[in-house]
Symmetry: C2
Amino acid sequence: MDKRASDGAALIRQAAADVLREVGLHAATTRAVTDRAGVGRGLLNHYFRWPELRALAWEAIFAEVEGPEAAPDEALEAWLATAFAPEARTYWRLWLEATDLAASDPAMAAALTRVQGRMLARLTADLAAVPERCPDPKATALRLTALQDGLAGLLLAGTTDLTPEMAEAHLRRAFALELG
Amino acid sequence: MDKRASDGAALIRQAAADVLREVGLHAATTRAVTDRAGVGRGLLNHYFRWPELRALAWEAIFAEVEGPEAAPDEALEAWLATAFAPEARTYWRLWLEATDLAASDPAMAAALTRVQGRMLARLTADLAAVPERCPDPKATALRLTALQDGLAGLLLAGTTDLTPEMAEAHLRRAFALELG
DNA sequence: GACAGAATTGAGCGCTTGCTCAATCTTGTG
DNA sequence: CACAAGATTGAGCAAGCGCTCAATTCTGTC
């Protein structure tokens, strides 16, 4: 009745998410996951195929992030404030790698579609809560999301002298332009 | 005196660029390049190391694209019009993959820095040509570039119902907002 | 024609990857 | 306790990667 404290499959799912966070999508391997989980190599393939497990763990990570709702106007400020917070770096990287992988990995593409849809819907809803200032919430949400992705890419590449603070300022500036 | 019609190193550089265009940065291999160039496998390593050759070929591809200058106001329209043209798809993908690789590949990071710097400088200059409408060309160029990157990422992932035409419309909308 | 040096070749090394599979260990049931 | 069924193991396979190196071919010079 009482399940084992260590259920193999759950152990592996958890370890996969941990490994993804630490080394990213590209460097993550099945061996790293099984070692981390403290189980044999064969067990992973008994429950999963690597592409599926990878997509599963990736989506689980972003599911955590989506977290609870906030009051509409606080939600927008919270979004702006956390978009380029230091803790978010892990997610920019996982996001970028996922966009990349989605081209060749159907499982990742599906996961990305779901997460992206949810995030866009949420931002759209938050923007729709101030209709007098934002006549087309869907379009604005898409532009702001795209801008955020693009700025995150610039930050990750580390190739410009862009800092997270500057990125946030740019996002706020675009936000101000969009909301008139 | 007259150089050989087929100089091994040049042949390999050219083949590398072709392969990158066709299969992208991640799928490209030394074997694909040497086969394409019609030379033996060993020759590539006689002249190059793979990370360097890859970065070299990548930068060469974008050097072609930078092309000749246009009249200042035409330049902005040309930029908007070609940003999401069908032919540009290859470049979005190479760009995205490069951003990804830059984290672990110093040669790619250096190449990306150079190309990104040139592109930003060019757009900044074009925007500076209309100072009455664009008070801060550098910041605007960065935001527009980031937006373009983000929209390209969304298109590549193929996960939203975004079309290239819509992406261009979004870019034009942001452009209009920026330039008042 | 002979010869030195450069260009070029491809078999193969060492490594990593995801995955298979026969064997072993654990667990719940009668 | 016995026994079937599921959980778990790890050696090893097949494939791919960048790269090495001894051997071969080509090329220009005297």
